[in-house]
């Protein structure tokens, strides 16, 4: 304080502004480092999944399928924490649909139960079943699908006919192939695809086991190459990094946009409240594996990570550095305390959903009509996310970022958002 008192006020103001600019640069740079570490972890976990799938397909067995499922569940932990990097960063948002698009009309990919229905007004390819179909018409063109390759999935089937529910690649397509449809309705239990759906010769169930294996192999290979691409994009010369570091103030705005858009429109709305309001177990985010409680929990944790500038890697090490919290605390300590409290309250609410689900009260049971305990659990998460969004808006104002347009993803024109 003594030194400050000696300085002229104009000089002081200039010096303060320069220090603030430097700090914003430090915060966005650490944010990019965190993103790089999180996508690198997601890639490592996807490589483990790919190896488990390769081993299973080489010698199909119940244990092999179980190992592949376990690897998928583990891979979701780091990936879900990255979702907060999507919104506000066009590089990530343009890429993201390839790996985590949802919800999907899974009949596009493989056989489904009779109760699934047929083509819908929105999607005439909802029951295409490419695994059973070597050649078909798509938007007026004949498609040769005798070989199921990564290129076929990525270039032809993904978003076929311009319909977003035609999800051919990514975590949820793989999840469907590993678990199959969850036919338990609101009752406890996940999808129960038999390992023999991938067995050779007479052991094969539900037909086309070799093509199903080709699909699973192609989809896991693609997941790895897609993640390699995004890790590079967050590298020293990557586009995703540049998008947030080139102008630190715009970078801060992107960080907060990611936090707010994921909290409010995406997670509180599309993913949580919609399923509850529709009482529809198919509206679960990880509906085949019944892993939705974790999906929500790690999404929420990702938001908290960004504010605190901290991330625990899959090898247990803590990544830590300059944070939004530091910036806010220096401007408005009460607001920093409010923001931290609300993030912690959300994590407690999401933790309760996770705890109950792990104890056997699964997420689809929570969505059942008239299930008051389930509704209270899910709404606890929704309310926490809405409350923290209010605080995020206050942080935007406190950091003087109001001038930046706060938009969601560039998929704002997508009509499937729920709060409409």
């Amino acid at each position: 304080m003594t030194r400050a008192a000696l300085m002229g006020s104009a000089a002081l103001a200039a010096w303060g502004a320069a220090a603030a600019a430097q700090d914003a640069a430090g915060v966005v740079s650490h944010y990019a480092d965190m993103a790089e570490a999180q996508y690198a972890d997601s890639l490592a976990a996807a490589e483990t999944l790919d190896a488990a799938v390769d081993a299973f397909l080489a010698a199909p067995s119940p244990e092999g399928l179980q190992a592949a499922r376990a690897a998928w569940l583990a891979a979701r932990v780091p990936y879900q924490q990255t979702e907060v990097f999507r919104f506000g960063n066009p590089v990530v948002d343009d890429w993201e649909g390839r790996v985590n698009a949802w919800p999907l009309d899974e009949g596009l990919i493989d056989y489904v139960d009779a109760g699934y229905g047929g083509p819908t007004d929105d999607n005439e390819y909802a029951v295409l079943n490419v695994i059973a179909t070597e050649s078909f018409e798509l938007s007026g063109e004949t498609v040769d699908a005798t070989e199921i390759t990564p290129a076929l999935l990525q270039d032809t089937l993904q978003e076929a006919d311009g319909v977003e529910a035609n999800v051919a690649t990514g975590y949820h397509a793989i999840e469907f192939l590993l678990w199959g449809q969850d036919l338990n309705g609101h009752d406890h239990g996940a999808g129960d695809r038999p390992w023999t759906d991938f067995a050779a010769g007479d052991d094969c169930t539900n037909g086309n086991c070799d093509r199903r294996g080709q699909y699973l192999d192609a989809a896991t290979d693609l997941l790895v190459t897609d993640l390699q691409e995004i890790v590079a994009a967050w590298g020293a010369d990557g586009e995703a990094r540049a998008a947030v570091t080139a102008d630190p103030q715009a970078g801060l705005s992107a960080m907060l946009t990611g936090m707010g858009s994921l909290s409010y429109g995406e997670q509180a709305g599309e993913r949580m409240r919609l399923g509850l309001m529709l009482n529809d177990p198919e509206e679960e985010h990880d509906c085949f594996s019944d892993n939705t409680h974790n999906s929500h929990y790690y999404d929420g944790l990702g938001v908290q990570n960004v504010y605190l500038g901290q991330y625990v890697r899959i090898d247990g090490t803590l990544v830590d550095g300059p944070s939004l919290s530091d910036l806010v605390a220096a401007t408005d300590p009460a607001l920093d305390a409010e923001m931290r409290t609300r993030l912690a309250e959300t994590m407690q609410a999401l933790g309760r959903i996770k705890t109950a689900a792990e104890a056997g009260f699964s997420y689809d049971q929570m969505l059942e009509r008239g299930n008051a305990a389930g509704e209270a659990l899910v709404m606890g998460g929704v309310n926490g996310l809405i409350a923290q969004t209010e605080s995020i808006e206050r942080v935007v104002a406190a950091l003087g970022l109001d001038g930046f347009a706060i938009e969601g993803s560039d998929s704002l024109d997508d009509p499937s958002a729920v709060f409409q």
Binding site: A165, E266, V328, T331, D332, S409, Q420
Partner: protein, 356 residues
């Protein structure tokens, strides 16, 4: 916004620490207030008294009238029933952008209006109730637990106008379902109006003196956000959904096309948003005439369209006219963002269309 001197004062200790390398100084670019706290409160009060409360009053009254008609006349093809439903739906569209606060509580806005319905949840939930003759609809509290896809104005549209479902709804169960839906709409509309009157309007008026709205600026931001998002929804969803892409127009995705209300809803919404914009544009520095002219242009384009369900998006000529209307709505939004946002000193917050 904190006055700039206080911001600098608070930044001092951290700035000193920053030189030693551990702490991080704040952004010192505290924005100046665009409107005074008193002026902001006055604008909020005008919006509540001139726009919000009257809108929800009309909705509650029309919804009650709908429930009254349905109690004596529940045949899907009935003109009296359709007229009452249309009047109540009109009233909802005029307030449908005010989704924060009482409309958000207990998912009331969704219970009144679940649309767009990208996975066909409404016909499937209604079909299920009808085929099961599910007794849950027998009580008001029971019906309130039903999927939002089977409640509200859009579900009633299927019951009154969809060829398949209106036929299925001819019997006694269908009659009970129509009545339950109308009574539920009335109860929901009344709950929203009462919350606004009894508590929420007060929270906005006393912004700065309560925890929910910590300043008048926050209350303004909620209203401005509703205006901005209302225009976004009109352009991107009400018009954007049926437009689809040039190669793949999607006329079947037009809002309330079965009752030929798609254009009507768009017009009612833009008219109501024009009213809210005029109130917010009383902020010093906003060019209210320019804002109003942008809305007038959009409504003029709509008046010339003569395509009630946007069915014309299928042919190049018809499509062009819907695109021109969409551009006019987008242009009204741009004008609002250029004139009103800066004058109020607020940006629109996060909205439900964020995400994917």
């Amino acid at each position: 916004m904190r006055p700039i001197l206080i911001a600098l004062f608070l930044s001092l200790p951290a700035a000193l620490h920053a030189q030693s390398g551990d702490e991080y100084a704040p952004a010192s670019r505290a924005a100046t207030d665009a409107v005074t706290e008193d002026a902001a409160r006055a604008i909020v009060a005008s919006a509540i008294d001139g726009h919000v409360l009257p809108g929800f009053d009309v909705l509650a009254a029309e919804a009650e009238a709908l429930a009254g008609v349905a109690s004596t006349d529940c045949i899907p093809g009935s003109e009296a029933l359709r007229t009452a439903w249309n009047a109540a739906f009109d009233a909802w569209i005029r307030v449908s952008h005010l989704r924060f606060g009482p409309a958000e509580t207990d998912n009331r806005a969704f219970a009144l209006a679940f649309w767009p319905d990208t996975r066909g949840a409404t016909p499937s939930a209604l079909g299920q109730l009808l085929s099961d003759e599910d007794p849950v609809i027998g009580t008001e509290t029971g019906f309130a637990t039903v999927s939002v896809a089977a409640r509200g104005f859009y579900a009633m549209e299927f019951l009154l106008y969809d060829d398949v479902l209106s036929a299925e709804a001819q019997g006694p169960y269908g009659c009970a379902l129509v009545r339950a839906a109308a009574v539920d709409i009335a109860a929901t509309a009344e709950a929203i109006r009462d919350d606004w009157r009894d508590s929420y309007a007060g929270l906005m008026r006393t912004a700065g003196d309560n925890a929910h709205y910590q300043s008048a600026e926050e209350a303004l931001r909620a209203l401005y956000g509703a205006l901005d998002q209302g225009l976004e929804f009109d352009a991107d969803v009400r018009l954007g959904r049926p437009l689809g892409t040039f190669d793949r127009p999607r006329p079947a995705r037009a809002e309330a096309r079965r009752s030929l209300r798609s254009l009507r809803n768009l017009v009612l919404s833009v008219e109501s948003l024009r009213e809210l914009a005029a109130i917010l544009a009383t902020a010093p520095g906003a060019d209210a005439a320019r804002v109003d002219a942008a809305f007038a242009t959009a409504l003029d384009r709509a008046a010339r369209l003569d395509d009630p369900a946007f069915a014309g998006v299928d042919d190049p000529q018809g499509r062009l006219r819907v695109e021109v209307l969409q551009q006019a709505v987008q242009s009204a939004r741009d004008t609002v963002r250029a004139e009103i946002g800066p004058a109020l000193g607020v940006a629109a917050g996060f909205n439900s269309l964020d995400g994917d």
